[in-house]
Symmetry: C2
Subunit: 195 residues, 2 copies
DNA sequence: CGATTTTTTGAATCATATCAACGTACGTGG
DNA sequence: CCACGTACGTTGATATGATTCAAAAAATCG
């Protein structure tokens, strides 16, 4: 039993590869412990890492012109998080990424990732599949934001990620779903009244 | 001068590769002419192709429960379009993809793409970079939809894609930007009055 | 515990949608 | 190449989902 076992499983779910290659890929990552409220990415700094969550929770957010905090993404166990626009183009970030709980993560830095992808076709495939799924996931979210009301988006979230809402502060969930924390509170309250 | 030259350029902008490999990759694609209003993807059918636009324009959209038409994406020259969730998971589509103009495209089918990626590390890299950029692009759009008003999203669009709005029917642009065609009309009218 | 942060509640307001009606343009068949 | 029909865009009135503001209640944390 090793702390990186979930990541090993994650790799093998995406690409079949010999055990020694799995270990080689894992070795390209660094295990880190991040304290609650610690930032791993901040605006104006280039995102140097891609982060896989072994344990804990994170969120990314932007502060808009009016100073409002908008959650763009969150990540719990077995999810990735970064400012992808900053990371892939290696330009200054626009987002914050912060730990919501004390967390354990695996991080790869940009140069190491490039080198690793270059060195082994299967490692390249691994990252390609990850990027594809991220793109598909984002597209589902765009469809949801264009076609559904605030309450429907909330219902979808609860159905899609059972148990996850409990771990997120309500203002994080509300801003992720594109509504105010007050409005989410009213949606929830209406529901408990009904049932 | 060959009709596929823009695609050749597109490939080389992403991955450096010897000319014969570029030709090999291009050969995996089929050149097709698509008439205006022709559908290349429809709900309940699996998206068999990924489509690169050489000439013309497309849009993808979903019809929601109330029967409202929501544009999810559009594509002109040098863009890709598909129902990515259908294509990468090879499951039934939820979207329509239709030609807005008579168009010329290059299409690769799913099995050929898998084989081609498998056969050559550089081809795998090519698709990986495409997926990454798609993910990054979608994330920018999510940020925009969460943080900006209808008018700001319109202004951003005009600034980011100068000249493109002219080629799209207004209801396509409106639903892409997440507003009604009436509201977009009012935004536009207000602007011409002002200046 | 007290202090701070988060959530709830209600009232007023706002951004955007809906509805309806009319004007315009465009493409298709004769 | 005209004329008609259908699709598209505009405008104004009204409706509504969601935000804002304010303050109290509840939860969390050092």
């Amino acid at each position: 039993m090793n702390e990186t076992d979930p990541f090993k499983k994650h790799i093998l779910q995406r690409v079949a590869m010999p055990p020694e290659e799995v270990d080689e890929l894992i070795a390209a990552f660094t295990l880190k412990k991040i304290k609650k409220r610690q930032f791993i990415i901040q605006p104006d700094f280039v995102a140097r890492h891609r982060t896989y969550v072994l344990q804990g929770a994170f969120r990314s957010y932007v502060i808009d012109r009016e100073g409002v905090d908008n959650t763009i993404q969150f990540a719990i166990e077995d999810w990735w998080i970064s400012d992808i626009n900053s990371y892939i183009y290696q330009k200054p970030a626009t987002m914050f990424v912060v730990a919501l709980e004390d967390s354990h993560v695996l991080q790869i830095d940009y140069d190491t990732e490039q080198q690793v992808k270059q060195s082994n076709h299967r490692f390249e495939t691994f990252f390609r599949i990850g990027a594809e799924r991220t793109a598909a996931f984002h597209q589902r979210r765009i469809i949801s934001s264009l076609t559904r009301t605030a309450e429907e988006r909330y219902d979808d979230f609860i159905a899609t990620y059972p148990g996850v809402a409990q771990r997120l502060p309500q203002y994080v969930l509300a801003s992720y779903l594109g509504m105010t924390t007050q409005f989410l509170s009213k949606i929830r309250n209406k529901k408990t009244g009904k049932s």
